[in-house]
Structure formats: C-alpha cells, structure tokens
C-alpha cells in the first residue's frame, strides 16, 4: 500500500515538472504506447490557449475539464459537439482573471484517475472520491430494481438473475420489519450485512420504545453507517444500493440508499443495470402514480422493469418479484390489516404479468402515422394502447 502511495507521489512530481516545461515549450506529448493506459504512463496533452479562437479549437478539452463533479457532465458535452461551454473555461481561471491554473493543463481527471483512486481517503483534483464512485459502479452491475409509490401503497419490483439453467434465481428482496422491506442491487454479501443491521435497528425500536421505527430514521442509520466507510482509511465503501419501502405514521415511503452514504426519498426510482430506461419510463408517468390503485401501480412498475430487459428477454414468474406495503389488493388473500410488507413471487404474480400492455404499444411519443391508410377511420391495430391512439395524427385526406 505504501509502495503505491510513494509511486503516486513520484509521478506527481514528474507531472509537475513536465507541465512547467510544457509552459515554456508549447505542447508535450508522451505516448503510452500499446493502446492501454496504466498508472505508469500518464498521457499529458496540453495546449496553452493564446486566444479565444484557439480555445474554440480545444473546446472539447475545456468541456472535459469542467471542474464539475458530476459524471453526467460528459453526457452534456456529447449533446453539444459544436458548442463551447465557456463557463467551464471561466471557472478555471484564477481570481486575478489571468491564465488558467496549471492544473487545467491536465487533460481530464480520467487520465489521472489512477493516481487518485487507490485510497478511499484521497480526493481527486476535481473534488471527487473515486473509490466511492467505483462502489456505485458495483451497484450498476446488479440487475435492475424499480420502486414506486402512491398515496396508499409503496411497491418494489425486482428482476432476478440466475447463473444458468440449473441454478435458482438470486433473491433480491428482504423483509426488514412488518412495515419495511428492501430490494438490493450490487454485492449480495454487503446487502446481507446491511439488512441485518437494519433489522437490529428496527427490533431495537420495537423493544425499547414499543413502536415501529420511522422509515426515514432507519434509512438515515444505514446512510450514516455507510458514510463512515467513505471516510475512514482502510475501509471500503459498501458495494450495494437499496430501494427501501415502508409505511409509518406519515404514510407510505420510498427511499434510495447508495454506497456514498446518501439517501433520498423518491416518488419513483430505479437502480441497477440499464435502470436509466426504467427511470425514463417512470419520469414520464410518475405524476399519475399518486392516485393509482395497487394493480395499476404494479402494472406501471412492470412496464418500467420491462424497459431494463435485454433484447430477447421478457418478464416471467421466475425472474420477477414484487414487494408491497399497504392495504391488500384485489388479487391478494390473507393480508394483515396493517398492510404489512409482503413479497409476491411465482404463480401469484401471473395475474399482474398478464395485466401488462404488450411492448411497443405503450409509447408516449409515437410518431404521427406517416403511412396513413387511404381510407379514413381505419383503426390502429387492436393491441395498441390508448396513448398511441390519442397521439396519432391521421393525415388529412
């Protein structure tokens, strides 16, 4: 460990020397060779902008070094290939309004990620903790989980993975207490440890105060626990994210917990592999969730979960599980009156899978029917959802 640290410090010195020389000479390039990057061969591409015109030519470099800590920034850059984000450039100037700070010379944090990512306790120059971000990457490796809530219910839907034909499907949902349940994405072993801790907290509240633990406190307790692992030397962040649903005096709730130690409350959320597609679906429809019945809420959740599937896969009773907290739904039997957390798997979810609208017909931005039928009034295919009907503009005859 100390060896790597010493090596990093050595490279730090080398980099600074090279930059100071670069300032005098113009551009310096060190090719890594072999097409791969490793800690031992950092690439420095540097230009000293003498004019705005030259700056425009290196706009992509400016955008890449924006000083903003969000990785989504890179997506924004790709949306504006021809534009220049001058704010980023101005942000790098020092207070005298003069030349950019020397660190601007470094192309992006990516090239020097390796220098700043070996320890949990080292910030990068952009103010990021790379180890914590890598832990979030572990969450993105897990299969997708979707959560959403209405006025009366909160639900979780999880896509279970199996290692092969012979293996069973990995359990994604855990019951923490009568009124709280979680779904996990990421390292299962870390999930077990954290869910055990949550269960202890919930039991303690019931024993000492004779009341079910308020859900926000339960989530805060694991968030604080996870934060410790992002700050103490030698500890690694938890590699698992949770979606937590629960109900307490203030109604049903949905929370997301991430390895960074952040927890937020959501109306709807998705984590895991290809969860962005699910989030897109949820963003379009979340305003209708508040007044949904349980069956409609589950249908929306299944549609969102379906978005995360790969090309030839579909939701089946084996690979889907649904967690519900709230009063009993129309298809449920023997649910306690308090609406305790329960997990539905296997045959009991057939009826919900059948309620899904076939794929391709639930499309909020359908294109106008360019191939309008010659006869007026020909109906669209019978399987189409009402959304498609309303948006289709029949061409004038």
């Amino acid at each position: 460990m100390s060896g790597a640290g010493a090596r990093d410090q050595l490279w730090g010195l080398c980099v600074r020397n090279i930059i100071s020389q670069g300032l005098l000479w113009g551009s310096v390039g060190l090719s890594p060779g072999f097409g791969t990057r490793s800690c031992s061969q950092p690439v420095i591409r540097y230009r000293y902008p003498g004019s705005i015109a030259e700056l425009l030519g290196v706009s992509s470099m400016v955008n890449a070094y924006s000083g903003r800590a969000s990785s989504s920034n890179r997506l924004e850059n790709s949306e504006h290939p021809d534009g220049v984000d001058l704010d980023a450039y101005y942000a790098t100037l020092d207070d005298s309004g003069g030349h950019p700070a020397a660190s601007f010379a470094l192309e992006t944090a990516e090239d020097f990620r390796n220098t700043y990512d070996s320890d949990n306790v080292v910030f990068s120059p952009q103010g990021r903790l790379h180890q914590v971000e890598y832990a979030s990457e572990a969450v993105k490796q897990g299969s997708a989980v979707v959560g959403l809530r209405s006025k009366t219910h909160s639900i979780l839907l999880a896509l279970k993975r199996s290692l092969g034909e012979l293996a069973s499907y990995q359990q994604k949902m855990y019951r923490i207490d009568d009124h709280v349940g979680i779904a996990i994405a990421g390292l299962t072993s870390d999930a077990r440890v954290l869910s055990n801790f949550m269960r202890q907290q919930a039991m303690s509240s019931r024993m000492v105060f004779n009341r079910p633990i308020p859900v926000n406190r339960l989530v805060s307790s694991i968030a604080d626990k996870a934060q410790v692992n992002t700050q103490e030397y030698g500890r690694r962040p938890y590699g698992v994210g949770f979606l937590v649903i629960g109900q307490d005096k203030t109604g049903p709730h949905l929370y997301e917990f991430s390895p960074s130690g952040n927890s937020y409350e959501y109306y709807a959320m998705s984590i895991g592999a290809r969860s962005q597609s699910a989030k897109t679906y949820l963003e379009r429809h979340f305003e209708t969730f508040v007044d949904c019945s349980l069956e409609d809420l589950i249908r929306h959740g299944l549609h969102a979960l379906r978005e995360t599937l790969q090309q030839d896969k579909e939701l089946t009773i084996q690979n889907t599980s649904i967690g519900i907290v709230g009063p009993a739904g129309a298809h449920e039997k023997e649910v306690p009156s308090e609406g305790s957390f329960r997990i539905l798997e296997g045959d009991s979810i057939t009826v919900y899978l059948q309620s899904m609208v076939p794929k391709g017909t639930v499309d909020p931005d359908p294109e106008p029917a360019s191939a309008a039928p010659a006869e007026g009034g020909e109906a669209p295919p019978p399987a189409a959802g009402t959304t498609a009907d309303e948006d289709v503009q029949m061409a004038d005859q």
Binding site: M207, V208, F209, N210, R211, N216, R217, D248, K249, T250
Partner: protein, 279 residues
C-alpha cells in the same frame, strides 16, 4: 480454629491457608472480594419523596405530588418538584429516591434532545407510551443487575387524542389503569379515586378532577404521618401541606404553582394529650 480475628465473620477464602504462619494472613482486599462487591450494589433510598396520584379525566390526565423530599424522618427539602414534563405530551411523577429521579430526569432530557436532532417533526415525537416503555426497560435492566433505580413512577399523557396513564417501579413492574397512586397513596387514596374516576373518565370534568385530587392530597396529609413511632422510621413517609398539579391536555403539558391545603386541627383541642391543654 481460625486464629485471626480480622477474618472472623467474613466468608472463607481458601486461597489463603490460615493455619500456616507463612504467608502472613491478610484481610482480603476489597477489590477481589465478591461479597463486599455485592454489599456495595444493594441500595437503600436516602432522600425520598412520598406518594404521587394520577387520574384520567375528560380532557386528558391530571397528576398530583407534594413538594417534600424527606431525609428519613426529617422533612428536609420542602420545595422539590416531583413532576417532570417529557417531550410535548407526557408528564412523569416520581416517588422514592430523589437522586435516582434526578438521574432519570437527565436521562430523559437527553433522550428528548436526541429525538430533536433527528429533525423529523412532530409525527415521530416520543409519546407517553414510548416514554413508559423506555423507562420500564431501563428500570428492569437495572434491577436485573441488582442495582435498582429506587423509584415508583407514574407516566401520563395524550397521544393521538387518546389518554395514556401507567405505572412503573424499581422492579420493572408495569400496569395501566384509569386512576393510579404510588406509596401511601396506593393504600389510602386509590379507593377514593376509584370511586369517582373508574368508569367515568370520559365525563369527569376538570373542575371535579381538581377537587378530587385536592381532597385526596388532604387525606394523605392527615394520614401520611407527621409523627411516627421511631422504631418504624425506615418506613416513614411524610407529606406537607403544599403540592403541585400537572395536567396534560390537547394543548400540552402544564405544571401548576404550589397549592396550599386547607386543614383543620381544631379537633385536637378536645383530646386529652393533644393540643394546648394544660390538663
């Protein structure tokens, strides 16, 4: 025969052979002697408070306790408040050892402060049922360590519009009833309280509740002795003629100023040996 008087009356310690002159027999040091450790943990209450009364009435809970802390048979501290508000909707009253009650007050205040730092508003505030459960866990665990918190406590309040009144003591015993009292009040006042309150909690008005508790406190002042046979001094408890009333209603907890009891001792004049008789 044990030749060493310093070991007489103490438990035998076989690690020392007392029939040899070497090593020289020594009194076992206190840090290794479990018997003396056990003695240290057994307690007796020193400065004590007497009964606490509490009833449920139409608008909530009413609790009464006088302002005396006795030092054995000496009426030592006459301005002690034995009623304590906890959070927005709970009041506790304590009889028994007053230093243990002060410790409980600090512990509960710290608990309320911790709850405040959670910053999740009134919906999750600790109500009387939670405070009572917490106290019963603490008291029972201390009793199980043979180191009791020597109090008998009444916990009362309003939670979601429902009245709550319960008892918890140094053994961890708990129970709940429309009218409860501790100490001498349990013997003298409970029959008077039950007659009026039990079954009529929803119709008993505040005025009637105040009057009932006032009458019971007066009876306790008369009967909860001022003069006692000295041989019974360790069971002595005393009242004084000043007490405080706490009420918990939908508007919150309020603890009154000291209320003076009106008493008549004129009958003593007619009794031989009492009063200012010359004969």
């Amino acid at each position: 025969m044990d030749h060493f008087p310093s070991a007489w009356g103490r438990p035998r310690n076989d690690q020392n052979d007392m029939y040899n002159t070497y090593p020289i027999h020594q009194r076992p040091s206190s840090h290794t002697n479990t018997f003396t450790e056990g003695v240290q943990r057994t307690q007796q209450p020193i400065v004590t408070g007497t009964s606490v009364l509490a009833i449920q009435y139409k608008d909530g809970i009413m609790m009464a306790a006088d302002n005396l802390a006795s030092y054995g048979s000496l009426a030592r501290f006459k301005d002690i408040q034995r009623l304590h508000p906890v959070g927005p909707s709970t009041v506790i009253g304590a009889s028994g050892d007053m230093s243990d009650f002060q410790h409980l007050q600090h512990t509960l205040d710290a608990l309320i402060t911790d709850e405040f730092t959670q910053s999740d508003g009134e919906a999750n505030a600790l109500g009387p049922a939670e405070v009572h459960e917490y106290l019963s866990r603490v008291l029972y665990s201390r009793r199980s360590k043979m180191d009791p918190i020597w109090n008998a406590l009444l916990v009362g309040g309003l939670q979601d519009g429902k009245r709550f009144l319960a008892y918890v003591d140094l053994l961890g015993t708990t129970y709940s009833a429309p009218s409860i009292a501790t100490g001498y009040g349990a013997h003298i006042a409970i029959p008077l309280l039950r007659d009026v309150v039990d079954g009529h909690q929803d119709t008993l008005t505040e005025e009637d509740a105040r009057q009932l508790l006032h009458d019971c406190m007066r009876v306790l002042y008369y009967r909860d002795a001022r003069s006692l046979d000295k041989s019974n001094s360790f069971t002595a408890s005393y009242s004084i003629s000043l007490y405080q009333l706490a009420t918990v209603t939908a508007t919150g907890v309020s603890i009154s100023d000291q209320i003076k009891l009106d008493t008549t001792w004129a009958f003593a004049e007619g009794l031989r040996g009492y009063g200012a008789q010359t004969q």
